[in-house]
Every structure is written in structure tokens, then in C-alpha cells.
């Protein structure tokens, strides 16, 4: 009988400890979640406060009872946020499109075709992966300037196209497609190009989607290159636009309008992420580092 109570005691204590650990875990996780979400909340909140209300709050308020959309209207009318968004969209779509074209062809050559010097070229490609952007951006800046391509889409897009890592990623994926498929297609008289289009690309669709999403994120957030290469607001992307707004737009202190602009440029990517949550996280885990 005594032993039995002992066990009960142990069980109770263990249960208590488990509960405590669990509670602490959830509390910590929630704290971090709040720290992540709070800036988003704050920008939403500020963006719907009216200019007057915001500036009269010496002690910031955590909510507002009279939300207004006027800041959003301001964001599109006072500064050319619409223009920036359109520019970024054009830049993102074209850059990603060219990137896909180049990457697919190169990955196919490495994965499927046999030619002299393939291994050496691939090795060079791999070593280029380690070269930081900062090292090449200087010459690119000079090149684009000399070619008179400042403040043009060509100047923005061309140096932003290449991502050696994606060639590597796609090549690995292409190589996982069984050799038998290629030989089967050959027996059926399928040309290399047709095999690429009708078999390899459809099979590798998940990887292609991942690559596309990662590149879109990269384009949407790119700041350094556009900043160097554009000083005409007509060619600003959103990152440069937001910097411009911060320093010169809205008469500097119209923070609610600024926040409205921030919300507008943040929403597309957040939506993209929520829709393709799995793909994005998978892709990033496979080797995307930010920047």
C-alpha cells in the first residue's frame, strides 16, 4: 500500500513539472510572437490614425476609435506610391522571367547534356556562388553608368538577373529525374528541347515555384542596386520610394501617411507568403539566405 502512494506522489510531481515546463514554453513563445507581430500591428494602427490625432498623442495610444483611410489616399496622391509599386512590379516580373529562362537552360545543360568542359564550367559556377555582391557591384555601377543605362529598366534589371545558386538547385533537381525517362523519350523520338519542356519542367514544377517565389521576394525587397542606379523618382522601386518618402515626402513628419505606404508595400509579399507558406519555407530552408 505504501509503495502505491509513493507512485502516486511521483506521478503527481512529474505531472506538475510537465505543466510548469509547458506553461513556461508557451509564455516564452508567445512573447516572441508578440515581438514579431507588434511592429506590424503598430504600422497598421498608425496608418489609420489621422494626422492630427497622431500628433496630439504625446503618450501613444494602443488603439484608435476613429480609424481613417485618408492616409492611404495621401500615400497614393501626395507621393507617387502607385508609380513605385508599378515599377517594382515590372522590375520583379521581368527580372524573374529572364532569370527563369537563363537558369532553366543552364541547369538543363549541366544536368542532361554532355559536352566538353562541362565539369570545369560547373566548378567555376559553384565558386562564383561565394562571391559577395558587394565586390562586383562597383564595376557594375560603372558599367551601367558608362552604358548610359542609369534610370532605365535595363540598367535595373540586367545585373539583377543572375543567381548561380538557383542553377545549382535546379540542376540537382533535374538530375533526380530518372535517366530512364530521357531514354524512353529518345526512343519515342523526343528532341532535347521538347523533353525539357514537356517532361523536365513539369516534373520540376515544385522547385521552379520555389525558385520563383524566392526571386520575387529578393526583387521586391531589393534596395542597394536600385538606389545606386536610379536618382529619378520615376524609376524608384518601393524600397527607394519608402526611403525617399522618409527623407523628403509628406513634409517629413506625416508619420501616419508614411505607415500607410509601408502597409501598402508590405501587403503583397505577406499575401504571397501566406498563400505559398509551405513552398516559401521549404525553399528558404534549402538554402536561401536573405540578401
Amino acid at each position: 500500500m505504501e509503495r502505491k502512494t509513493d507512485y502516486d506522489q511521483i506521478e503527481k510531481r512529474a505531472k506538475g513539472r510537465r505543466m510548469a515546463v509547458r506553461t513556461v514554453t508557451y509564455v516564452l513563445l508567445t512573447i516572441w510572437a508578440v515581438m514579431v507581430l507588434f511592429p506590424f500591428y503598430w504600422m497598421l494602427l498608425t496608418s489609420v490614425k489621422s494626422y492630427g490625432a497622431y500628433n496630439s498623442e504625446y503618450i501613444p495610444k494602443f488603439f484608435t476609435l476613429s480609424p481613417t483611410m485618408e492616409n492611404y489616399v495621401d500615400a497614393f496622391t501626395t507621393v507617387s506610391l502607385g508609380k513605385y509599386l508599378a515599377n517594382t512590379l515590372i522590375f520583379t516580373v521581368i527580372t524573374t522571367g529572364i532569370m527563369l529562362f537563363v537558369v532553366i537552360l543552364a541547369a538543363f545543360a549541366f544536368a542532361r547534356l554532355e559536352f566538353k568542359g562541362k565539369n570545369i564550367v560547373f566548378l567555376i559556377f559553384l565558386s562564383l556562388m561565394m562571391i559577395p555582391n558587394e565586390l562586383v557591384i562597383i564595376t557594375n555601377f560603372v558599367t551601367v553608368t558608362n552604358l548610359d543605362m542609369r534610370n532605365t529598366f535595363q540598367g535595373l534589371i540586367l545585373p539583377s538577373v543572375m543567381s548561380v545558386f538557383y542553377i545549382y538547385l535546379l540542376k540537382e533537381n533535374f538530375e533526380q529525374i530518372p535517366d530512364g525517362l530521357y531514354r524512353a523519350a529518345k526512343v519515342d523520338g523526343t528532341s532535347d528541347l521538347k523533353y525539357l519542356l514537356k517532361v523536365m519542367i513539369p516534373i520540376s514544377r515544385p522547385t521552379l515555384i520555389t525558385i520563383t517565389i524566392l526571386k520575387v521576394i529578393e526583387c521586391w525587397n531589393s534596395y542597394v542596386w536600385p538606389r545606386l542606379i536610379t536618382d529619378d523618382p520615376d524609376y524608384y522601386l518601393v524600397s527607394n520610394g519608402i526611403q525617399e518618402i522618409r527623407e523628403n515626402g509628406f513634409g517629413r513628419e506625416n508619420i501616419p501617411a508614411m505607415m500607410a505606404a509601408v502597409v501598402v508595400i508590405s501587403v503583397p509579399l505577406i499575401l504571397l507568403f501566406l498563400v505559398f507558406r509551405k513552398k516559401v519555407m521549404e525553399g528558404v530552408a534549402r538554402g536561401g539566405t536573405k540578401g
Binding site: R22, Y26, L28, L29, A33, V36, P39, F40, W42, M43, T46, N55, E57, Y58, I59, P60, F101, V102, L105, A106, A109, F110, L113, E114, F115, K118, L128, I131, P132, E134, L135, V136, I137, I138, T139, N140, F141, T143, V161, V164, Y223, L228, S239, I242, Q243, R246, E247, E253, M258, M259, V262, I265, S266, I270, L272, V280, M281, T289, K290, G291
Partner: protein, 301 residues
């Protein structure tokens, strides 16, 4: 036969590779060679594209430039503070995340959000949260006030306060990647090790130290190495917080120095920029090599 083979195989391969080769050649290989040349051309004038001579003057200039030294100091501080802190916190969060079932997906999604947001845009929000203006002390100072601390201007105030904001924001930005990598590393540890350890009556802490940590140590090293590289290249988050006049704010980083040399109010000196870029590359390469050596050694032990 051999000619036909060439036409069939080699030519086709190179043809498919051609676009990639063009892009890489024009915007990576050529610039890579060129940046070295620039860095040794003394007195390069970008308007007339002339230079006086070849030498190491550019390096000497950069190394004696107080702005560069300030940038190096800032960058090193940022690296030393944020890399260990962010990796440690990410590990803590990932372990917590891995031990729960309900709400796990929700937490994971929320934690990943900073990855997909525009650094510049959210940096602006941080700036507003931390900034003290004539109209308002700002949100962070409100919290400090609750704890009886005086208002501090984090954005235009003392150096340590600015550094604090920068580190805080940097950690906030890099956390999603680290949490993601560590949670998937933790999830891939074979559950049977845990069961075996539990049957042996091993305590939770001991399980973590003796089983979990060694199992995921390669991933931790990977994060530390990429973390170092990333933090050394810090720039856009600094711009987001302190604006483009970073030298004035005493908050410039090495990358910021490079760009300022290249373009902007103090720009027009690609030679100095090149020298600084190569110095940065050398620093990053050295540190990465040291990291690799250490990680190899401790993984082998």
C-alpha cells in the same frame, strides 16, 4: 563521326549555357577582375576615366579614413553582439517550438513573417517605435517610463542607444531564417534516441546537452557562419533606421562605406570603394575560414 558528335553534343551544351555565361561574364566575372584593378589604380577620376599610377595608395587611404574605421568598429560590434545572441535565442525558441503540438504551425508562420517583409519598410516602423521627437517620446520610451527610466533618444541620441536599436532590429530580421533551420534540424533528429534516453532515465537537460545539441551542431555552425557573413554585410537595415547619411550618424557599416564612396554626396571614388570592398571580402573570408576550422575541430571531437 567526330565532327557530327561535336555538333550534336558540345555545341548544343554551350548553346544552352550561353545566356547564363553572358550574364555571369558581364556582371560577375568581369567585375570581379575589374574591382582588383580599380583598387590598385591611384587617383582614378571617374569623369575622365584616367589614373596616375598603380599602387596600394587606395588601401592606405581607406585604412586611415576615420569614417572607415568607424564603419569597421560598428560592423564588428554588430557581428559580435547579434550572431551569438540571435543564434542562442533562435535555438531556445526552436526547442520550445519543437516540444509543443497545438499552435505550433501558427507560431511558425508568425515567426517567419519578418523574412518576407521589406527591410526598409519595417525598419521605418522600428524607427518610429524607438524615436523620441518633440511631440512624443515614442512607444519604447513609454515602456521605459513604466519602469521608471528616463526617455532616451534611440535614433538620434547616444551611440550605445543607436547600437542597441540596430542590434535589436538586426536580430529581429535574421531570426526567421535561424528558427526555420533549427526547427527543421531538431525535427529531423531520430525520435528513437529520445525514447532510448528517456528509458534510461536521462534528465531533460542532459538529453538536450548530450543528444540534441551534438546532433544539430552542424546546423548551428552553418547558422553561425552564414550569420557572420550576413552581419558583416549589414547595410539596408542600418539605412532603414538611421537614414542615408550614416557617416553623420556615426552608424555607418563597411558596406555602407563602400556605397557612400561609390555614389551619393561623398561619392565618385570607385577606387576607394574597390579597396574597401576587397578589405571586406578579406575580413569575411578570414573569419569564415576560422569558423570552418573551429567547426571542423569541434564536430570531429
Amino acid at each position: 563521326m567526330s565532327r557530327k558528335k561535336f555538333r550534336d553534343g558540345s555545341l548544343k551544351g554551350w548553346l544552352y549555357l550561353l545566356p547564363a555565361l553572358l550574364f555571369l561574364g558581364a556582371f560577375m566575372v568581369y567585375p570581379l577582375i575589374d574591382v582588383f584593378i580599380y583598387s590598385f589604380e591611384e587617383g582614378y577620376n571617374s569623369a575622365s576615366q584616367t589614373y596616375f599610377g598603380i599602387g596600394s595608395y587606395n588601401y592606405a587611404y581607406v585604412l586611415h579614413d576615420p569614417y572607415f574605421l568607424q564603419a569597421v568598429k560598428n560592423t564588428f560590434l554588430l557581428v559580435i553582439i547579434t550572431v551569438p545572441l540571435s543564434t542562442g535565442i533562435a535555438l531556445l525558441i526552436s526547442v520550445g517550438l519543437n516540444s509543443i503540438k497545438p499552435l505550433r504551425n501558427l507560431f511558425q508562420t508568425v515567426y517567419f513573417l519578418p523574412y518576407v517583409t521589406n527591410t526598409l519598410a519595417v525598419g521605418l516602423v522600428f524607427m518610429i517605435l524607438f524615436k523620441k521627437t518633440a511631440y512624443s517620446d515614442g512607444f519604447i520610451n513609454l515602456i521605459l517610463h513604466w519602469f521608471g527610466q528616463g526617455p532616451i533618444d534611440f535614433i538620434d541620441g547616444p551611440y550605445w542607444a543607436k547600437m542597441f536599436v540596430l542590434c535589436f532590429y538586426t536580430i529581429w530580421v535574421v531570426m526567421p531564417f535561424k528558427i526555420l533551420i533549427l526547427t527543421s534540424a531538431l525535427a529531423s533528429v531520430n525520435q528513437e534516441y529520445y525514447r532510448a534516453a528517456r528509458v534510461d532515465g536521462t534528465s531533460g537537460f542532459r538529453i538536450f546537452m548530450r543528444i540534441t545539441l551534438p546532433m544539430i551542431s552542424p546546423m548551428i555552425f552553418y547558422l553561425i557562419i552564414t550569420g557572420f557573413i550576413g552581419a558583416f554585410k549589414a547595410y539596408s537595415d542600418v539605412v532603414a533606421l538611421f537614414g542615408t547619411d550614416l557617416n553623420g550618424a556615426q552608424m555607418n557599416t563597411i558596406v555602407g562605406y563602400i556605397y557612400d564612396m561609390l555614389y551619393g554626396d561623398s561619392g565618385g571614388y570607385p577606387s576607394y570603394a574597390s579597396a574597401a570592398a576587397i578589405l571586406l571580402f578579406a575580413i569575411v573570408l578570414t573569419i569564415t575560414c576560422i569558423n570552418l576550422l573551429i567547426s571542423k575541430k569541434s564536430v570531429n571531437d
